[in-house]
Symmetry: C2
Subunit: 396 residues, 2 copies
């Protein structure tokens, strides 16, 4: 029940107080692109953010496919109407490009999990930064080749793993090679296949709040996914207006024209409506799920620990959806307003607390910290696969 | 350096995306009032929030001073222009009201530290709520009697302890009993005394960001503190306008008129300009300082632990200012933009991490969890002082 106010006091200034602090602080957003080479990943990122974001192969003729899957990140600061965003794009060159692509998703999920691990290590250290730098991947755009037939086995196997650890947004790449009819048919086939393999892409119905409007909006988005997109960084003039597009002998495809392709739908979702949601789901579902698995693995398998971290990454683990559900039902107090009836009272969290402490103690007992475990396993993977390399650049 | 955009992409929608989520979630704010009885604490809170917030003594004649210091909380949900705030007011009846007031601040600092402890226990548990309920005290309004002479020893001793654990905002209570000249003289005396005893009230210059405008604004506020306030919940009509005030035979004091008293300055600071800052400093300075002391005490004094928690509360501990300073200088990357140059790279946080783990392990080794430690000590205090009781009510 609301307590009535007898006049204006000014709590409506609160969101502006927060906004002011946010603007000063700036934002961060980390996006990853996954898909075989030649699907226009770099062009799409440049089109999304209307700037030269991606690393470019200077001379196309010199381009050689990396011998293994690499993880390459690049950061930019972009600004629009006073809002600064540190954008980090992580590319995965070599993914799916080889004769044998067994386990080619491992370096990808490994990188994603390493970011959670870094965050967790910061979070549990005694002296913490005022704000933990967030390198967690908020969004993974998965590029599907416009075959018009069906998903390839590698798409299914890779996405199965990816959706457990990150928000996956699949797109039909280079959609200008499909007619509208082919596109719609292909889309239905992919939707069926995703359902069949229980691959829950973003926005995941299980992660939604109970907001009716939001649920409807997301349902509509899901019915149109995966978006059939075309990227372009060249401009043309059409009827006096400048448009981004791709021009061929038989016509001009305007990438931001919703009649031509679904790029605008993707851009609106990632940037204009769901950017903060991508970050929140990453923090509240995927990171929490990693943290919980990580601590529980250590707690339950004290003698089995040197593999603990990596089991999470290689074997499909219990879906974060499940754990999120139980979390959701047990935390009706997640809203401060829901708990307005329960007044401050010492509650007893000893059980959960002890579990965490005991898990962390075991971690300590074995003198095995998560980072070095990951390093050991990384070395093992290198021997097997030729080795993932993480190369990072900055254009700032 | 900024990367240039070649057109509008829409990241300026981000603050609105966040605002939308905040409005759905609602806000929480916890304020505490400390001071001897009869200084108008309840009236001031009701004036600040323009509603019947405080627990009222139904029949003034039946009122008896509690035998010891009690801690009483009450929660309300208030709303203004769509912004809902769960407000919890914690009162400390009995503080300073006895013949012997030795250590009367202990139940107060103990309550404040218990809220940090609850938060810490939630934060380190394996299964966490999506959002940890925040019962931490964001603001402690300390009521100084309008003697016109100087601070009393109890004010100095209590505030010395309080500023170590919470944002303290001192006010000169019932300022209508002082003339403007007396008020200004009294204020200068108090400012000198606070300085002399190194009592750093909110807004603490050490906790400020480097923002020039903000620093100037805070400097101005500090020069006017402690605000000389008058509370009132009755309305009168002055020149056709309805004003909150106190009417006596010789005149009407309008509490929101800055020429009459400084209530408006206090209200603007707590609600309209610094509410979020009070919350941020609580989380980033006081809570972090508690967490660090707590983990370090356990790490450094493994055989001394059953006293560890309480040492923090009774003995003036190393100032949070110091630890915040070092944190500040070591975390230039607290802004995501500052770290734009350093690309994601596995950094080694093992040292800090191991320290935290080792401290938590020791905590576990002794099979002593912080909550039960606090309970043991609470029992000890009860024997000594007659016992703090925490009584909570809700008006929702």
């Amino acid at each position: 029940m609301m307590t009535l106010l007898e006049g204006y006091i000014g709590i409506d200034t609160l969101t502006e107080q927060i906004r002011k602090k946010e603007l000063k602080q700036g934002f961060e957003f980390n996006v990853m692109v996954v898909g075989t080479s030649g699907l226009g990943k770099s062009t799409l990122i440049d089109t999304l953010f209307k700037s030269k974001i991606s690393r470019r192969v200077v001379n196309k003729e010199e381009y050689t496919c990396p011998k293994t899957v690499e993880i390459k990140s690049i950061s930019h600061v972009i600004e629009e109407k006073g809002i600064r965003l540190k954008l980090t794009v992580t590319d995965t060159p070599g993914f799916g490009d080889h004769i044998n692509n067994d386990n080619c998703w491992i370096p990808v999920t490994k990188y994603i999990n390493e970011q959670y691990e870094k965050f967790l290590n910061e979070e549990i250290s005694i002296k913490r930064s005022k704000r933990i730098p967030d390198t967690r991947v908020h969004c993974c755009i998965y590029f599907i080749a416009p075959t018009g037939h069906s998903l390839r086995p590698i798409d299914i196997e890779a996405m199965k793993r990816l959706v457990k650890v990150v928000n996956v947004i699949p797109v039909i790449a280079k959609a200008d090679s499909l007619t509208i009819e082919e596109r719609e048919r292909f889309k239905r086939v992919i939707q069926d296949e995703l359902k069949q393999h229980d691959i829950q892409v973003f926005p995941n119905v299980e992660h939604e709040d109970t907001d009716e409007d939001e649920a409807q909006e997301n349902e509509l988005l899901r019915s149109k996914m995966p978006f059939a997109v075309v990227g372009a960084t060249n401009s043309y003039t059409v009827g006096g207006k400048t448009v981004l597009g791709r021009k061929t002998n038989f016509g001009l495809i305007e990438v931001e024209n919703e009649k031509h392709c679904e790029f605008a739908l993707l851009r609106n979702m990632i940037i204009r409506t769901h950017l903060q949601d991508l970050k929140d789901v990453t923090a509240q579902v995927h990171y929490e799920s990693y943290r919980q698995r990580h601590l529980e693995t250590i707690k339950n398998n004290p003698n089995h620990n040197s593999d603990g971290t990596v089991i999470d990454m290689v074997t499909p683990t219990p879906s974060p959806v499940g754990s999120f559900r139980s979390q959701k039902s047990s935390s009706s107090r997640s809203s401060p307003l829901a708990s307005a009836n329960s007044t401050p009272k010492m509650s007893n969290h000893n059980q959960a607390n002890n579990n965490a402490l005991s898990a962390q103690r075991k971690l300590q007992d074995q003198n095995a910290n998560p980072v070095s475990q990951a390093k050991v396993k990384a070395a093992m993977l290198m021997q097997k696969n030729g080795g993932p390399r993480h190369v990072a650049e900055s254009k700032i």
